[in-house]
C-alpha cells in the first residue's frame, strides 16, 4: 500500500518534513485537495470577500475608500508584524498596545510640553520603544519571568505611568499645564503629515506598512536571525544545545516588537493630533489576531510577515465592508472573531502540518 495517511503518523514524522512534501503521485486526491485548501484557502476567502464588497457596495470601489481601508489596516498590520517576531520565538507580548499608547503620549509631550519639532518627537518615540523592549527582555530573559506575566505587568505599568506627568489628561495644543501656564508648543505640520501625507496617491502609513512588511519578511525568511528565531520557537532547548545564544535572540525579538509598536503609535498620534490617553489600548488583541491569522496563509503554519499583512488587510476589508453595509459595531466584533477562528481552523484543524506556534510556554 503505497499511500500513507499522514494524519495517522506521529506528529514528529509529519513535522520532520519527510511526509510533508512527498512526491505528488503518492498523495490521494483528498489529501491534495486538503493541501490546496490549507495553502490557498485563506487567500481565496480574502479575495472572495473583497470581490463581494466591491460588487455590492459602489462606495467600496472608489480608490479613496481603498486607501482609507489600507490606512485603517496599517497600524494593526505594523503592530501585528512586531508580534510576529515575538511569536516566532514562541513568545507573546501583551504590552504592545500600551507601548503604542506610550508613543502617543511621548510624541505629544515632546511637541506640546517641550516645544520641540517633529523630528525630535519621532526620535523620542523610537527610543521609548527600544527602552520598553529592553525592559521586557530583561524581565523575560534575565529575570526568567514567563513572557505572558512579564508583559502583562509591563502593560499596566506603562498604561499607568505614562499618565503620571500629565495628571491623567490628554495632551492637546493650548492645554493648561499643572502649574497654570498654557502649554508652549503644538503638533507640527510635518509631524501631522506622517498620517496625513501621501506619496503619489498612496498615504504614508500604507507606504510605511509595506516597507516594514518587506523588512520583517527579509529578517525572518532571509537572514540568520530569522532562522534562529524560528528554531528557538520550535525548540529552545535544542537551539541552546546547538550553540545558539537563546536569551540574546529572544531579547532581540522583544526589542523589535516594541520598536514596531512605537512606529504604530507614531502613526496613531499623527492621526489623532493630540495625546489621547486611550489610544492604542484596543490594538493588542487585533495585533495578536492578525499575526495568528497570518500563520494560516499559504499553509505556512508559522508566524510570518506577509501572512500578518494579509491578516490585517482581511480584517480591514471585513470591518470597512460591514460598516459600509450599515452593520453596528457589535456585528464587527463578531466578524473579527469569526475570521480568527476560521483562520485557526485552517492552521490547526485542516492542515497536516503542525503549527509551530504554541503560546505561553
Amino acid at each position: 500500500m503505497p499511500q500513507i495517511e499522514s494524519s495517522l503518523l506521529p506528529a514528529e514524522a509529519v513535522d520532520s518534513g519527510r511526509v510533508v512534501r512527498p512526491e505528488d503521485d503518492t498523495l490521494s486526491t483528498g489529501t491534495r485537495v486538503r493541501d490546496a485548501v490549507v495553502k490557498y484557502g485563506f487567500i481565496a476567502v480574502t479575495v472572495a470577500l473583497f470581490s463581494y464588497f466591491t460588487l455590492s457596495e459602489p462606495s467600496f470601489r472608489t480608490s479613496g475608500a481603498l486607501f482609507s481601508m489600507l490606512k485603517f489596516a496599517s497600524v494593526t498590520a505594523i503592530l501585528g508584524l512586531g508580534m510576529t517576531f515575538v511569536m516566532a520565538v514562541g513568545g507573546m507580548d501583551l504590552s504592545i498596545g500600551s507601548t503604542a499608547g506610550l508613543s502617543v503620549q511621548m510624541a505629544a509631550m515632546t511637541m506640546v510640553f517641550y516645544n520641540l519639532n517633529g523630528g525630535a518627537a519621532v526620535a523620542v518615540v523610537l527610543l521609548s520603544g527600544v527602552a520598553v523592549g529592553l525592559l521586557n527582555a530583561v524581565l523575560i530573559v534575565l529575570c526568567k519571568i514567563p513572557d505572558l506575566l512579564a508583559t502583562l505587568g509591563m502593560m499596566f505599568v506603562i498604561q499607568g505611568s505614562k499618565l503620571i506627568p500629565v495628571d491623567g489628561q490628554s495632551v492637546a495644543s493650548g492645554m493648561v499645564l499643572p502649574d497654570g501656564t498654557p502649554a508652549p508648543g503644538k503638533f507640527t505640520e510635518s509631524f501631522l503629515r506622517i498620517d496625513g501625507g501621501t506619496l503619489g496617491p498612496v498615504p504614508y502609513p500604507v507606504v510605511i506598512m509595506l516597507v516594514l512588511t518587506t523588512v520583517s519578511w527579509f529578517i525572518l525568511a532571509r537572514t540568520k536571525w530569522g532562522r534562529i528565531f524560528y528554531a528557538i520557537g520550535a525548540n529552545p532547548e535544542a537551539s541552546r544545545l546547538a550553540g545558539v545564544r537563546v536569551g540574546l535572540y529572544r531579547g532581540l525579538a522583544y526589542v523589535l516588537c516594541s520598536v514596531f509598536a512605537s512606529i504604530g503609535g507614531l502613526i496613531l498620534v499623527s492621526r489623532i493630533g493630540q495625546g489621547d490617553v486611550n489610544a492604542g489600548t484596543s490594538s493588542l488583541l487585533e495585533a495578536v489576531a492578525v499575526a495568528l491569522v497570518g500563520t494560516s496563509v499559504l499553509g505556512m503554519g508559522k508566524p510570518n510577515a506577509w501572512g500578518t499583512l494579509l491578516g490585517a488587510l482581511l480584517i480591514g476589508i471585513v470591518l470597512t465592508g460591514l460598516t459600509m453595509k450599515g452593520f453596528q459595531y457589535y456585528y464587527q466584533d463578531t466578524a473579527k472573531g469569526l475570521v480568527l477562528i476560521v483562520a485557526l481552523l485552517f492552521s490547526f484543524t485542516i492542515s497536516r502540518r503542525k503549527v509551530r506556534y504554541t503560546p505561553a510556554t
Binding site: 482609507s68 489628561q169 492621526r271 493630540q274 486611550n278 489610544a279 450599515g326 453596528q328
Partner: protein, 368 residues
Amino acid sequence: MRMKKLIVAGVAAVSALSLAACSQGSGATTVKPKNQESASVQAASGDAPAPFDQPGVRVAIVQNSGQGDYFQQYLNGTKQQAAALGIDLSVYDAQGDNATQATQLDQAISSGVQGIIVRHGFPDTLCPGVNKAIDQGIKVVIYDVEIQKCAPDAVQTQQSDNKMASLVLDKMAEDIGTGKPVGYVNVAGIAPLDRRDVVWQEYLGENDWTQKFKTGKFTNSTATDTAPMVDSVLKSNPDVVAVYAPYDELTKATLSALKQNPSLQGKVKVYGADISTADIELMTNPDSPWVATGATDPNAIGAAVVRTLALHMAGELDGLNVEFPPILVTQDFLRSEGIKNMDDLRAAEPALNIADVSSADWIPNVTF
C-alpha cells in the same frame, strides 16, 4: 451502559422542566428593546427643496462611541428622523477610539455621501477630515465638539449647557433667596461642565451666595468616588442650604453623601442636571433632597441634528451654530404627575421633543 443512558435522559428531562418553570410568562411575548423609542411622524406640508425632492439622499453619521443607553437613544432619534426624510443613512461607530474615528470620517467622505454628521471626538483629530469634506462640497454638522476653532465653516451644534444651568439656578434662587451659604460639586476640564460653571459663577455673584465648598472628581465611577469627598465637606460645612451639582453622576454623589449625614436631612436642597429613568426614581423617592434638574431627550437631539443637516444641505440654515434647549424638571412636577420613567416624562412634557428647533414645513418632524 443502559443505566447511564437513563440517567442522561432523566437529567435532560428535569433540566427541560426546570427551564420551562423559570421562563417568564408565555413564549409569545415579544420584548420591545428598551432603547428603540418608537417615533410618531408628522406629515410635512411643504414641498421639499433639492436634494430632498427625491428620496435616497445619502448621509453618514460618524460617531465617537455608540455604547450605552444615552448614545443608543441618540442614534435611534437620528435614524428615525433620517428615515422620515427619506435619507439613506450609514452609521460609522469608532467605539471610543479616536484614531478609528479619523479613519472612518475619511471613509465616509470617500464613500460619496452628500452630508455628514459627526458626534463627539477631539477637534484636533476631526478638523482635517471635516475641512476636507467641506472642500469637496459635503455639508457637515458637528455635535458637541468645539470644531469651529479649526474648521470655521462647519456647523456646530450642542445641547445648551447655558440654559441647562440657568433654568435650574433660577429655580434655586427662587427657592432659597439671596445671601445664603451654598455648596458646589463640579469638576474642571470637561467642556459641558465648564460651560455650566460659567453660569454658576454669574449666579453666585448676582445672588450674593457664599460658596462654602467646591469638590468633585471625574473618574470611571464618578458617583462612587465623589461621594466621600462631598460627605467630608458637608460635615465641615453643615450650614449650607443648597448644593448645585451640574451633572447627574455628581448629583448622585451628593445624594449619597447627604444620606451619610442624617442631621442634614430636610435642611439641604440639591439642584442637579440631566435626566434618566434612574434619576427620576432618585428625585421622587420620599424625602429626596433633589428638587430640580435640567432635562433633554437624547432621541429628540439625535433627530434635531438630522433636521439641522437637512436645512444646511437645502441651503436654508441661518448661521453656523444651533443649540438644543433643555427643560426644567422639578420634583413637585414629577410627583404630582406620577411620573416614574422617561416614557411618562415624554408624555407629560412634549417640549422635550424640541420640535421647533431646526424645523421647516417640508420636514416631517419625528416626536417620541
